[in-house]
Amino acid sequence: MIEQLLAPSVFAAAMRLATPYLFASLGEMFGQRSGVLNLGVDGTMLMGAFFGFYTVMITESLLLGVLAALITGLIMGLVTAFISVTLKAEQGISGIGIYLFGLGMSELLYQRLIGTPKSVSGFSNIYIPGLSDIEFLGIGEIFFRHNLLVYVAFALVPVSAFILNRTPFGLMIRAAGQNPQAADAMGVNVTRVRYITVMIGGMMAGLAGASLSIALLKVFQQNLTSGLGFIAVALVYFGRWRPLGILIGAMLFSVVQAIQLQISAIGIDIPSEFAVMLPYVITIIALVFASKRMEKPTALTKPFERGES
């Protein structure tokens, strides 16, 4: 039984399941590191998932589908930034507004434009030549037989870390989130930095949605994400605002999820509710430990006002 639960196929599934979390959480991380908590990720994901799916359904072009999801996310991000940065609205509450808007809007569009459940062929798996044949420990199956978006999501982990820690722009992001007054005094345009990070976050949330609707599930239905975006926000806390931490959190979540799917697939008599519940319990416990260390960007959720400290 244990063998069945820890089969390579389970871990391969976990890699795929981790993809939307990675996109959404890494994007959200940029926003949070610059001082903006965007709680509307789930709504943006739903919108991205819908437009990505709809575009693929109409044009049968995956490239256009991804592009549509990115643009949708960008627009949602721009609106979010306007609300949080320019209008300085309470971020915890305005995020719920964005979530509800995305939830309602994507369902409305779905019912109006698609109506009945349809599926698209979507992204197919790319077997990396050579590597995908490695039999040892099932490495080939686990790591090298996925669709393009899975590879991209995992590649974004080191890329994000590099941008954040090794580039001038990353420094500006961290400064805007840690001490916006000082950053402003040093000539960093805090407002612009925050707009950019929130828009990056929006694009990645849109892509996260599309990774569900045109790669992982290949369908769209109302509330497709069922709260996945909120978990993505929690994963940023879980991962202590670092790409590597987010990767660990996303993998933890997706491995548990994949094992749970396997449990119901092979019909072991464990109430599946507990397995579904487990990641949320783990997240709460992790939040307790994450918040003890003071690694949170100091200015998170605090609107920037020149001359006020």
Binding site: L100, G104, M105, S291
Partner: protein, 409 residues
């Protein structure tokens, strides 16, 4: 406070009007955006809104359904007022509703030998306590471990749904449903344990006048509808919580922490305790929303595997209604009725015009966004008001009017 000059009274009234203006502007702005969407769907917005209005208040039954939908929203909204006033952002209304419903229905199914009113009382109490304790977890984690309550309540929502699914498939499953293909639901609660339906006997004069306006029902208003006494409980709760927030030291402390945590700490207020208490009350109210749905409307708890299957999104809509009611429990009463009406009206609009009712979810989101965004303008006004402070004599009067009673002694 009996000596306020007419001038000051006018100023206060003026300020109050200005404070509610952003809310109305939010509603109008959201409806304008909705109109654009409707036009994009080649639907005449005016016709759509007329259909909605008709569906919400057009008939006796429609109006009753609006109120029925408003009941859980009001319960949650009243709790949200306490939480948000206390600076705690409780997004866990859905989970707390489920916790309350699970505890309440368990009591109603176990305590069957008691007289009906006692079953109802115990069941309601169990619902309040369960919701309160469930929210208390998030409050405790925020107060002592600095865990972001938004995230913890969202996680707790998911945990509550799974617990509900587990219990309704297990110990709470209706015995007559046993079998492999059962529907996960509890047995029906006893008739005595159900909240009675609510109706009013109209005085002849009013009934006559209504008939003149084309009213087709009997003088027993709401007698043939699903409206139940949960409405009265919710309104009473709103009044009680209003008194608690603005007429007791408990409420004063909660609001003080919400206004300025550091100042409250310097003033000797035990901040963690207020955070937990605010969360506790908010969760209790949401728990009541859950148990009242069971006792007053559904008479059993049934799950389709999701939270919304039971809550119909009341845990989120309560937040919208609380914001729209100006985070005042009394303001939440009409606000909940408005949102109940939007939901019921949207269903009618869907039937009449083929516009998906999901439009209202999107509109609710817009209302939240516009309401919190417009607070910047409210803040600016407040700052300007503070800058043009009235002369000292008036300020003393103001202080007397606005100071909670424990400081007046």
């Amino acid at each position: 406070m009996f000596f306020s000059s007419p001038n000051q009274t006018i100023r206060k009234a003026f300020n109050r009007i200005f404070d509610t203006t952003p809310l109305l502007i939010s509603l109008v702005a959201a409806l304008v955006v909705a109109s654009v969407l409707l036009i994009a769907m080649s639907t005449d917005p005016l016709q759509a809104y007329r259909s909605m209005l008709n569906g919400a208040v057009g008939t006796e039954n429609a109006f009753a359904e609006t109120l029925v939908k408003a009941i859980p929203i009001l319960f949650v909204a009243v709790g949200i007022c306490v939480a948000f006033r206390g600076g705690v952002i409780n997004i866990g209304g859905e989970g707390q509703m489920i916790a309350g419903a699970l505890a309440g229905v368990s009591v109603a199914l176990i305590a069957t030998s008691l007289p009906g009113p006692l079953i109802i009382l115990f069941s309601l109490t169990a619902g309040f306590v369960a919701g309160a304790l469930y929210a208390g977890i998030a409050g405790f984690l925020k107060a002592y471990f600095n865990v972001n309550e938004i995230l913890s309540t969202i996680m707790l929502n998911q945990i509550a749904v799974q617990s509900m699914n587990y219990l309704l498939n297990g110990v709470l499953l209706d015995p007559t449903e046993a079998g492999t293909n059962h529907i996960p639901k509890t047995a029906k609660i006893l008739a005595e344990a159900q909240l009675p339906r609510f109706s009013i006997t109209l005085p002849d004069a009013i009934y006559g006048a209504l008939q003149g306006l084309g009213f087709a029902g009997t003088p027993e208003l709401f007698a043939r509808t699903r409206l139940h006494y949960g409405m009265i409980i919710a309104i009473l709760l709103a009044v009680i919580i209003y008194m608690l927030l603005w007429r007791t030291t408990i409420g004063y402390r909660i609001r003080a922490v919400g206004e300025n945590e550091n100042a409250s700490r310097y003033a000797g207020i035990h901040v963690p305790r207020q955070i937990i208490l605010a969360m506790f009350i908010a969760g209790g109210c949401a728990g009541l929303a859950g148990v009242v749905q069971v006792l007053g409307l559904q008479y059993r708890l049934q799950t389709d595997g999701s939270a919304t299957g039971f809550t119909a999104n009341a845990g989120f809509n309560g937040i919208v209604a609380a914001l729209f009611g100006g985070l005042n429990p009394l303001g939440a009463i009409p606000a909940s009725a408005v949102f109940g009406g939007l939901l019921v009206g949207a269903q009618k609009m869907q039937r009449d015009m083929g516009v998906p009712a999901a439009l209202i979810t999107a509109v609710n989101g817009l209302i939240v966004i516009f309401t919190v965004s417009s607070q910047m303008f409210a803040r600016r006004r407040a700052r300007r008001r503070a800058a043009n402070e009235p002369p000292r004599s008036e300020r003393v009067l103001d202080a007397a009017v606005n100071t909670p009673m424990e400081q007046q002694t």
